[in-house]
Symmetry: C2
Subunit: 198 residues, 2 copies
DNA sequence: CGTCTATTTGAATGTACTCAAAAGCGGTGG
DNA sequence: CCACCGCTTTTGAGTACATTCAAATAGACG
């Protein structure tokens, strides 16, 4: 049941943690389930939890002044999700987080988060590395969004996140890549015909 | 001399650290100076340090297949800079880092970084919070890049980073915002005439 | 089977780009 | 101190690419 979390910790921290310690760590989380199309977090409200997904899929999105949604990131089982701006800064959330499938998650509130960092030496390190990895991924995304073509970015996306393709609707992937859904459809069409000819 | 670093730590960690502990922490760094237009880090090579800037300015950029540069982030005194992908992952750097002004910096290599995290309980927390803050800032940047107009993004940039405007060339700011330098020039022109009329 | 949502396709529009050149600015050396 | 040179910013004109609007097709779900 918690094997996914334990594996996540082990791989991230890079060393073995005694099973009983992991269980004590695990006890700080509470189990939650969410239906499809449920909001875990709303822009403007406090986001009081960080979630570790045990199953299902969610995505977070930003809504601009004109009311248009932009997909920010996706998460499947084994991923973490939250509005970190709100969770860590105790401020109003910037993003919405919505389930794309029914979700089973382990929820950690801010108090338990701090408790985890104090009680377990591996926890602070674990969350530091998570944040670092996430930051690096975002930097790379910014670099490619601003300098590579939409086609290049789509191919890169399919290469890096093949498991997303099957479970994330295409119009959200288009939004994530910063293009209109029609444009992604046309890019895919071009790729398909080019593929067929060669 | 190290007051900037100490203040940075204090404010980030959110509590006082004894002065002698801060000095022991400080001893892990080595002082470096760099001329203007010096590369601290090259794409494809290992980036073996994280730098804390005591004075001067640097920017990091990405170079795509076509050889075009894209500005990724800027750093002034009081900021940290590195290619985190390379530094933490021990892989080839994705970005270049170049000085825009002569720089005085405190350099921390990977070994000392790990040592700092082991010896000082505040260090792991410090670097976790740094990474989190950086991550949140990038997420917001992605959100606005993909959904707000270039004008909106420029105004937001001037609001959030007024101290950058005086010291970062305009064509780099344009690159950072994901637009051509000519486009930024035109946006500024429009804003100026609109300002004058009202 | 029918409804709702997602994807594809078409045509017209427009925004931001590229290419090109001029003007502005700063630093260096005579 | 001024003249020159290189780099940055501005301005102009034409172009191209992604977008928008619109509608048809395809798929999912009750």
């Amino acid at each position: 049941m918690s094997a996914l979390l334990f594996e996540n910790v082990r791989r991230t921290v890079g060393r073995e943690i005694p099973q009983e310690v992991l269980w004590d760590f695990r006890k700080l989380f509470s189990e939650k389930t969410f239906d499809k199309k449920t909001l875990l977090c709303r822009e403007g409200e406090r986001c009081r939890h960080t979630w570790f997904l045990e199953s299902g899929a969610v995505y977070s999105y930003y809504v601009n002044n004109a009311g248009e949604k932009t997909a920010i990131q996706f998460a499947l089982e084994g991923y973490w999700t939250s509005d970190m701006f709100s969770f860590f800064g105790d401020r109003e959330a910037l993003f919405y987080i919505e389930t794309l499938e029914p979700v089973q998650a382990l929820a950690l509130d801010r108090q338990r988060f701090e408790e985890a960092c104090e009680r377990f030496s591996f926890a602070e390190r674990f969350f530091r590395i998570l944040a670092q990895n996430a930051h690096v991924a975002q930097l790379y995304r910014i670099a490619t969004t601003n300098s590579e073509t939409a086609e290049h970015r789509y191919l890169e996306f399919t290469r890096r996140y093949p498991h997303f393709l099957a479970r994330i609707p295409q119009y959200l992937i288009a939004s994530y890549l910063g293009i209109a859904p029609q444009s992604l459809s046309r890019i895919r069409q071009q790729l398909a015909t080019r593929q067929a000819r060669s």
